[in-house]
Amino acid sequence: MDKFGMNSQTEHWHAKYVGTGNPDISKHEWFVNQHRDTLAYYASDNSLAAFISIAEGESIARTKYNMLQRMQQPCGHAPRSSGTDS
């Protein structure tokens, strides 16, 4: 198809990298991706996790666990009405 065109790699990227977006993405989806990326980053970066745990008054392990748990549904349910909110 179009070798260099706009959409040549889009599908490949979507398959390979979950967080990539597309022109039809909804606001909710985009923010879920952002949150997951952020939480994953917090949980994987030790000094950041230590910073947050001090601020929250929790142990580091608890903080990391919380982050991982929150990754399941970082922004709550998707809004019901589709199409109006994006």
């Binding site: 260099f4 990298y17 990539t20 977006g21 923010f31 952020t38 910073f51 947050i52």
Partner: protein
């Protein structure tokens, strides 16, 4: 910044000449969208050439017709036949005898019954024939010695002459049931067997009494069932005759004009053709018709230009509904004639319309131009389900059997079948049998591409139709009387096994191998295993035990052929699974062992082969034991007259000797002497393939017993009278010297070796690389020890350099190139100097091949002596080389530029600057050489020269060259400029470049931009000192109307930003990014790619946060086009620097949502 404004606003060159005040007014106001053109193609603008639109359109329209394969016509005119039937071997021709199979509705039981009947019939026929032949032989026995039996000669086709029994190699099993191996390698020579001749037909001629006994019809039926309905021998002649019919105007039908002139006009009326009349469309029947008496023309006449006959021949290329085809063969008439009958499709029913549609698509695919073919192929695949399997295959399958089918056409048809099959899936089942009948012969073909294609399609077929359908279809063929059919079936089955997995087919194969009913079935079973091992390779390992179990019982079979096939299957399995899996072979080692003692001849060959492949799998200890045991048999069989046996023996020797645990002393004593006596003979050297086997085995032996012993036996053959044997010995010596060196060769043997090599080198008849390689390998291997012989070698070479024959001179020069290093090692500088002077004198050589070699030799000499000590001095040498640079021959160019580059690199100071400038001009020509190596050498030579004489003059030459039309030349020039800048530091070049950009010419400006891009690519982080210097230039380019300007500027920015990342140059890069960003909406593929790359590189320099700010503007833009681009940039950034983005995601403060990321607000 100010400079840029000046460039755009103030500078106007020669306005009276260009007649334009505004720099940009002549550009196209619209950009060509979706252009797939080249990156720097000249836009129809100010300085490009142009033509009226009508002419351009006309040229565009004419293009597809030009794109038909030009080689086809060429091949036809040279008489190279690509017709498959013409190039088939006798064995392959047997495919024509196969019946295509019964109706699709035939049940499995009926099929089986029919197959059985056919088998019985064939058996009966063969019995009768055997009796017949024996009777014939008995009566003629007396004359066997002095003349060939007359009745054998009498085959009516004349194409298959039976070989005299006495001059063919004796074979033991003989006759009827042999398969020629196609896959080369370890194969035996294809043999003709009785089935290959056309005995059926010949039988009628000679012995009418016998054949009368069972009548003609039953016989005929087997051989004549093909739809073509012609014997193969005839079809060739038929094709030729058909062609002649078309070509010869005397045989053509009379035109209406001719008839009008011939017949009286009154008294006759022209009748309408009756409505029931249908024109004959089978050319075969036309052929049978007696040619009319000389019509129209009597004897010779001068053909009129554009006579009606010729016009008609041309017109057949026009097919209604398709248009012009590149060619339309006479044979196509048979299949596609329907399309030409001129009936309108309005009144046809749907079925008939569909048939015509399919025919049209097929014709387009088969005979059309590539563009037509592509479209038709896609349509065929898309509509396959709509047409249905029956409608499609009923048209395709007969095409496969056409007598004049060419390789290319078959390839296309196979492709169609493949595509259609993919769409149809299980719907192909009713056609499996017929498809197999036409595809299986490809598996037996001598052409490896055909084999690969055939196995791919059968593999797809088996996936589409499923195992059950495949097994049911092939089952009747497994014990078919015709060996050809069984062979093809076994190959097809192996492909099915590899496609559907060995475990799926293993039960069936096991049952076939154990068949009690017929030995043919067992034989085929063994072969299926053998072919499977060859197809699957190491993939047999998990199922090795099962497969060995299938064939193991066959070793003790009552039928000799089954035993052989079983042993061959084991050999193939062992070869495929090497070096693993000896456990699986445990049970067969003993029977194999016994088989070697019990068998003789062909059977023995198979068993030996199996043992030979099993031994390398064993532990060293066992391998040594078995090798010791098998050696006496092998040595005995050295004497075997059979070629096949020889090949096997050589292979087994190689395997056994290569395996661990074999004592070198044993091999030296037991194997080497008889081996050399039996195999190093002139007769074997004449046959290329057996010579190769002998050489490989010899090298393997040398690895075992040491090169010295083997070389000692070979030196005699190096001076043999027969050239072939000398070549063979030379090849062996070369390989031994290359693999093991000649360190162990000493004293007398060394002398003999050099003497032999020199003799063989000098006495060679045909000059090729064999002798040269051997010469180089031996002299190179001797190293310092070659010193005593160098005097002699040099004088021989010098004499040969002066030889009359160009091939000899070329070879001598090549030899010099190879031994120059050794001469230096031996301290023979004076000899080298002599050779150098000699070569210098021969630079006037007129044969380009020879001149190229001489230049190569000179280069080698310069390399080892060094430029300072070179005789003749470099200052004399280079002026001679400059004119040679203009030579058009590729080899000369390459060697010459290499030599010049080397001199420029190491000894530029020996040559005056004026001379270097001269070579600069010659070098420009080399920039449009075809070979990339030449262009690269030329470009880097510019760098060396610039370093030697300073960049100014070289740059002036190069910048002038930017004005040329040829794109490749310009591109190379820009690369050369960048290299000059790199070698002489950018500050010497950039001012000149910046100045050159002011020339109001598209090519020059683009060239400058491209040079800047390359320059920043080459100098990397050194670019941090030049960012501010080029920023105005890039600014100007980025706001230029011309797309290519912006594209090149984007490329330059991308290289620059990559180089200066982390060197505190954010400000200018950000400034350029601001100018770059508006280009994200470019649609031309090269431009958008360059722009996106520029942004990506800027991200590395500026950080993801900055780019994020830009991106956020358009991620949720109402226009989809905008969102698409912005999301692509976002994704690029996400993949490249996801963690860096975490801190920059937009903070959102919607009270109701849970989108806030509160952790970022924590403050301790």
């Amino acid at each position: 910044m100010q400079g840029a404004q000046k460039l755009t606003a103030e500078i106007k060159y020669d306005t009276d000449l260009y007649e334009t005040g505004d720099k940009l007014s002549d550009y196209d106001q619209t950009m060509e969208i979706n252009s797939t053109g080249d990156a720097v193609q000249v836009k129809p603008g100010r300085f490009g050439y142009t033509a009226p639109q009508a002419f351009i359109d006309e040229l565009r329209g004419a293009e597809p017709a030009e794109s038909a394969d030009p080689f086809k016509e060429l091949q036809r005119s040279r008489g190279i036949s690509r017709i498959i039937a013409d190039n088939e071997s006798e064995y392959e021709k047997r495919r024509h005898g196969r019946s295509v199979g019964g109706a699709e509705t035939e049940s499995y039981a009926e099929t089986l019954k029919r197959a059985q009947l056919e088998n019985e019939k064939a058996e009966l026929i063969s019995k009768i024939q055997k009796a017949e032949q024996e009777a014939g032989e008995k009566s003629q026995r007396k004359r066997r010695w002095d003349q060939t039996p007359a009745h054998v000669e009498a085959t009516p086709g004349g194409s298959t002459k039976r070989r005299n029994r006495w001059d063919e190699t004796p074979k033991v099993a003989g006759g009827f049931d042999e398969t020629p191996r196609v896959s080369g390698g370890f194969g035996e020579t294809p043999r003709r067997s009785r089935w290959d001749e056309t005995p059926k037909v010949s039988g009628f001629g000679e012995t009418p009494k016998v054949s009368g006994g069972f009548g003609e019809t039953p016989r005929r039926s087997r051989w004549d069932e093909t739809p073509a309905a012609t014997q193969i021998g005839e079809s060739k002649a038929g094709g030729a005759a058909a062609a002649a019919l078309v070509e010869d105007p005397r045989n053509a039908y009379m035109s209406d004009d001719e008839l009008d002139a011939l017949l009286p006009s009154e008294g006759y009326t022209i009748m309408e053709a009756p409505s029931s009349y249908v024109p004959i469309r089978t050319p075969a029947r036309k052929l049978m018709a007696t040619p009319g008496p000389m019509q129209g023309t009597g004897g010779f006449h001068i053909p009129e230009a554009g006579s009606s006959v010729q016009v008609e021949a041309e017109l057949t290329r026009e097919v209604p509904g398709i248009g012009a085809l590149p060619f339309f063969k006479q044979d196509d008439m048979q299949h596609f004639g329907k399309l030409l009958d001129g009936q309108s499709e309005e009144e046809m029913d749907a079925e008939e319309k569909k048939e015509r549609e399919i025919l049209r698509l097929l014709l387009k695919i088969k005979n059309g131009t590539p563009a037509m073919r592509k479209v038709a192929m896609r349509q065929m695949a898309e509509r396959a389900r709509g047409y249905g399997a029956a409608a499609i295959f009923n048209q395709i399958l007969p095409l496969f059997l056409a007598a004049s089918l060419e390789e290319q056409e078959r390839h296309l048809l196979v492709k169609v079948v493949d595509r259609v099959m993919m769409r149809l899936g299980p719907l192909v089942r009713p056609f499996v049998r017929r498809l197999l009948t036409v595809i299986e012969p490809m598996l037996v073909s001598a052409d490896s591409y055909a084999r690969a294609e055939g196995s791919e399609i059968i593999s797809n077929l088996s996936k589409a139709a499923g195992l059950a359908a495949m097994v049911a279809t092939m089952r009747p063929d497994i014990d078919h009387a015709d060996e050809y059919v069984r062979n093809a079936t076994s190959r097809a089955f192996a492909v099915v096994a590899s496609a559907l997995g060995i475990p799926a087919v293993l039960p069936f194969v096991r049952a076939v191998c154990g068949s009690k009913k017929s030995w043919q079935a067992r034989h085929t079973g063994m072969r299926i295993v053998q072919q499977t091992a060859e197809v699957v390779g190491a993939g047999v390992l998990p199922h090795l035990r099962g497969l060995v179990g299938c064939v193991a019982a066959g070793l003790g079979d009552e039928q000799q052929r089954v035993r052989s096939a079983s042993a061959l299957a084991l050999a193939a399995l062992a070869e495929a699974s090497a070096p693993y899996g000896i456990e699986a072979f445990d049970e067969v080692v003993k029977p194999l062992w016994q088989g070697i003692r019990q068998h003789r001849g062909r059977g023995l060959a198979a068993f030996l082969k199996a043992i030979g492949f099993v031994i390398p799998l064993m532990d060293a200890e066992y391998a040594g034991y078995y090798t010791r045991e098998v050696l006496p048999v092998l040595v005995r069989e050295f004497q075997a007259p059979d070629d096949a046996m020889k090949t096997v023996v050589l292979r087994v020797v190689r395997q056994c000797v290569g395996a661990g645990g074999v004592d070198a002393a044993l091999v030296r004593a037991e194997v080497v002497p008889p081996f050399f006596a039996a195999f190093w003979v002139r007769r074997l050297a004449l046959d290329r393939r057996s010579a190769r086997h002998v050489i490989e085995t010899t090298v393997e032996l040398a690895a075992k017993v040491g090169g010295r012993d083997v070389v000692a036996r070979l030196v005699g053959d190096l001076k043999d009278e027969a050239e072939a044997l000398r070549r063979m010995a030379m090849q062996a010596v070369t390989q031994i010297a290359a693999a093991h060196g000649v360190l162990d060769v000493d004293g007398r043997l060394e002398e003999q070796l050099v003497d032999g090599v020199l003799y063989a080198f000098q006495e060679q008849g045909e000059a090729d690389h064999v002798m040269l390689d051997g010469f180089g390998a031996v002299v190179g291997g001797l190293g310092e020890r070659a010193k005593p012989y160098l005097q002699q070698i040099t004088s021989a070479l010098l004499w040969r350099l002066n030889n009359q024959s160009p091939a000899t001179r070329q070879q001598a020069a090549d030899a010099v190139a190879r031994i120059a290093a050794v001469m230096r090692v031996c301290g023979e500088d004076e000899l080298l100097g002599r050779i150098g002077t000699m070569l210098y004198e021969y630079l006037g050589e007129e044969y380009p091949e020879v001149l190229g070699s001489i230049l190569g030799a000179l280069r080698a000499v310069v390399d080892v002596i060094g430029v300072t000590d070179m005789r003749p001095p470099i200052g004399d040498l280079l002026p001679r080389l400059t004119p040679i640079l203009k030579n058009r021959h590729e080899k000369v160019q390459e060697n010459c530029i290499d030599l010049v580059g080397r001199i420029a690199d190491r000894g530029a100071e020996f040559v005056p600057a004026r001379e270097w400038m001269r070579s600069c001009f010659s070098l420009l020509d080399l920039l449009h050489a075809h070979k990339k190596a030449i262009r690269r050498a030329a470009v880097s030579t510019f760098g060396y020269i610039a370093k030697a004489i300073g960049p100014q003059d070289v740059l002036a030459t190069l910048l002038n060259n930017l004005k040329v039309q040829d794109r490749q030349n310009r591109v190379c020039t820009t690369v050369a400029i960048a290299i000059v800048a790199e070698t002489c530091a950018p500050f010497t070049v950039l001012p000149v470049l910046l100045n050159e950009y002011r020339v109001p010419e598209l090519n020059v400006q683009n060239g400058v931009l491209k040079s800047v891009a390359f320059l920043f690519e080459y100098i990397g982080s050194m670019g941090r000192d030049y960012v501010n210097a080029v920023a105005p230039l890039l600014e100007d380019a980025l706001v230029d109307r011309d797309l290519v300007h912006r594209q090149q500027a984007a490329a330059a920015i991308s290289h620059m930003a990559l180089g200066v990342a982390g060197t505190a140059n954010e400000e200018p890069v950000l400034h350029l990014l601001n100018l770059l960003w508006p280009n994200v909406f470019e649609t031309s593929p090269h431009s958008i790619l360059a722009v996106l790359q520029g942004i990506e590189s800027s991200r590395l320099c500026l950080g993801a946060g900055r780019i994020m700010m830009y991106t956020l503007q358009g991620l949720f833009h109402p226009a989809r086009k905008v969102r698409e681009v912005y999301w692509r940039i976002y994704n690029m950034m996400y993949i490249g620097a996801q963690p860096a983005m975490v801190a920059f995601y937009p903070a959102i403060d919607e009270p109701a949502s849970s989108y806030a990321r509160s952790e970022l607000d924590y403050i301790l």
